[in-house]
């Protein structure tokens, strides 16, 4: 399966080749063209920029990658690997499979569809809900250091799905989306669009995977997650790419009045994995919980960049990111709590904990506050530590090898975060993926 006649490297690409001669909804064509112009005019950020000090973008051969041209959705049968995971993942309201961003399979429980829930490709959404799409994308304007990658993501937009949950509708189970990358040497992009109207309840798990690929491959991902007044949204991104893949995900949450949005990022695979997660507390009484876990071995590098942006008073945000590293694994966490002047009575917390299992592993933690209001409760903290000798000896004295004991301690270390995942079925799926990775 190829993406059409117009394959070229990114260096040789122009906007026409990126469109592949396809007709597409105007909302998307216009946004993509503007993004492409923006992308070509911006320089790549270098290590001189604080945001990219520990993750060197200039070492990635973007120019030599083959951009995957946005293609219309197809309706393929579920592949064996997807069916296998689904068989072990509990209940769900729908399934999406994306191959290099292209929607290859999409199904929604008929009963859920009858309640008014929309699950479609972004392309179809641009025809039917252009205004919702446009607004969400406009609001998701990342910081200057992220702009180059975000522009590239938008320029390739076309892949991805759109979930819309109308007022007061509570979805009975999550949507399970699979983002599959199969072709080595490609640059592809997909977007997860989740929108909950007032009082809606929605849950989504995005699962990213590939085999080990033998050439540098880049997967871009964006998520825009919006909860209107009183909505509740749980969003999980489970990244278990194979080696060879470098992954950049930009996630943007807007939490309206009295809404509650949970994001949970799990990074296990790939050579390099970066997630840039912004939560904008947009309405009074809104609540954002931001969770993440990562486990890095070999020479994997994980980068988590977060912003808790309190734009409204009486809002609450709580971030808990935990990572464990072994071999020559490395990670960086850079987080900021920003409280606008009018956001009085903000309650905001930010915690990053790192566990190093080897001499060669390395973690950086850079928590930060920027507070303009004067009546707030904010705290932030970060730790980098090793396994406790007393715990290690205790477990080994029961026959566990050092490796088993260490891995069990990592699991214990992660449990606090896993326990905060609201959906039992999704929690089981995430736990299983982590077990598979750390090899208990």
């Amino acid at each position: 399966m190829t993406a059409g006649p117009a394959e070229s490297t990114l260096a040789a690409a122009d906007f026409d080749t990126l469109s592949g001669g396809l007709t597409e909804p105007e909302a998307i064509a216009v946004a993509r063209a503007a993004a492409w112009a923006r992308f070509t005019s911006l320089p790549w950020p270098t290590k001189k920029s604080e945001e990219w000090r520990y993750t060197d973008l200039t070492k990635i051969g973007f120019e030599a990658l083959t951009p995957v041209v946005p293609a219309p959705a197809t309706a393929e049968a579920l592949s064996a690997d997807v069916r296998e995971v689904l068989g072990r993942s509990g209940e769900r309201a729908g399934v999406v499979v994306l191959r290099e961003g292209r929607v290859a399979h999409l199904e929604l429980e008929p009963e859920v569809a009858r309640s008014g829930v929309v699950l479609s490709s972004i392309r179809d959404a641009a025809d039917r809900h252009p205004e919702v799409l446009r607004r969400a994308l406009l609001e998701a304007q990342p910081g200057p250091a992220e702009e180059k990658l975000w522009a590239l993501h938008l320029a390739l937009l076309g892949g991805g799905y759109f979930l819309y949950v109308p007022r007061g509708v509570e979805m009975p189970a999550p949507i399970h989306a699979f983002h599959v990358v199969e072709r080595a040497g490609t640059l592809s992009s997909a977007h997860s669009f989740v929108y909950g109207e007032s009082g809606a309840r929605a849950a989504v798990i995005d699962e990213f995977f590939s085999d080990d690929l033998d050439a540098e491959t880049v997967s871009l991902h964006g998520a825009t997650i919006t909860g209107e007044g009183g909505a509740g949204i749980d969003y999980v991104a489970l990244q278990r790419f194979g080696r060879g893949v470098k992954r950049f995900s930009t996630q943007h949450v807007v939490a309206g009045r009295d809404s509650r949005v949970v994001t949970f990022n799990v990074a296990l695979g790939g050579d390099l994995s970066r997630a840039d997660v912004t939560s904008r507390l947009d309405g009074p009484g809104s609540d954002s919980e931001m969770l993440a876990l990562w486990f890095g071995d070999s020479d994997q590098h994980f980068d988590h960049h977060t912003l808790q942006h309190h734009a409204a008073p009486h809002a609450h945000s709580d971030l808990l990111f935990k990572g464990a590293l072994t071999d020559a694994g490395s990670s960086v966490f850079r987080g900021l709590i920003r409280v606008d002047k009018g956001a009085q009575l903000t309650d905001a917390y930010q915690t990053n904990r790192n566990l190093l299992l080897s001499e060669r592993s390395h973690a950086s933690a850079l928590p930060n506050l920027e507070i303009e209001a004067d009546d707030v409760r904010c705290s932030h903290g970060a730790t980098i530590g090793q396994v406790e000798d007393g715990q290690l000896f205790y477990l080994m004295s029961r026959g566990l090898t050092r490796r088993q004991a260490e891995r069990l301690l990592v699991f214990g270390f992660f449990d606090e975060v896993l326990g905060r995942l609201p959906m039992e079925g999704v929690r089981a799926r995430v736990r299983e993926a982590i077990e598979e990775k750390i090899g208990l």
């Binding site: 715990q391 029961r398 566990l400 050092r402 088993q404 301690l409 449990d415």
Partner: protein, 257 residues
Amino acid sequence: MSEPLLSIRGLRAKVEGEDGEILRGVDLDLERGEVHALMGPNGSGKSTLAKVIAGHPAYEVTAGEILFEGEDVLELEPDERSRAGIFLAFQYPAEVPGVSIANFLRTAVNSRLGEGEEMDVFGFQRTLTEKMEMLKMDPGFAARYLNDGFSGGEKKRNEILQMAVLRPALGVLDETDSGLDIDALKIVASGVNRLSEADEALGVLLITHYKRILNYIRPDRVHVMMAGRIAESGGASLADKLEAEGYDWLHRAVAAV
């Protein structure tokens, strides 16, 4: 097999990186099926001996040997000693938040089975439930995080539970009785007795400060440790003498040597 289950010869040990030996020539033989009590005042080296037998990395053995079933174990890692059949019930068990007792113990059980022979979840659960009933433990206990927020009594009971599940050849019980009220002490003691009944070859080295537990677990031999050595060994009546007369007479005897 004629060699003792545990044979300690001229064992000297100190805290790694520090001067001053804590164990200064320990000799002790324990046969299969025997229960030995090891008593002695605070700081005499009882707990150090227990940890050195289990292979605690904070201690350095400077001389002597520990033979377990005739094999020198000093070069073995703590996990290898455990899988060989040595079990230490800790005086102060580590707290491990986030790891449930069931998950931990299943990993420990499977670590001594070959690949492909691992116990399945249900088989393991049956064993665990049975042992917990024996120790009068609430079934919900297995789901709790390992020692996390446990009372002193719960920790000690949990140690004996692990011993019951792992079925060692030698159990070294380091002050398992301390901090227990009389009811908890009886439960723990009867648990140890039932393990001895179920496995006639089980050897137990019972380290204690007080004679109290010896009213429930009858020792075959009693040793008294003083200043890093076994100062006196005898039958069960030695414990009665210590109870009546304290350690002073031994202090004087050791000083006279």
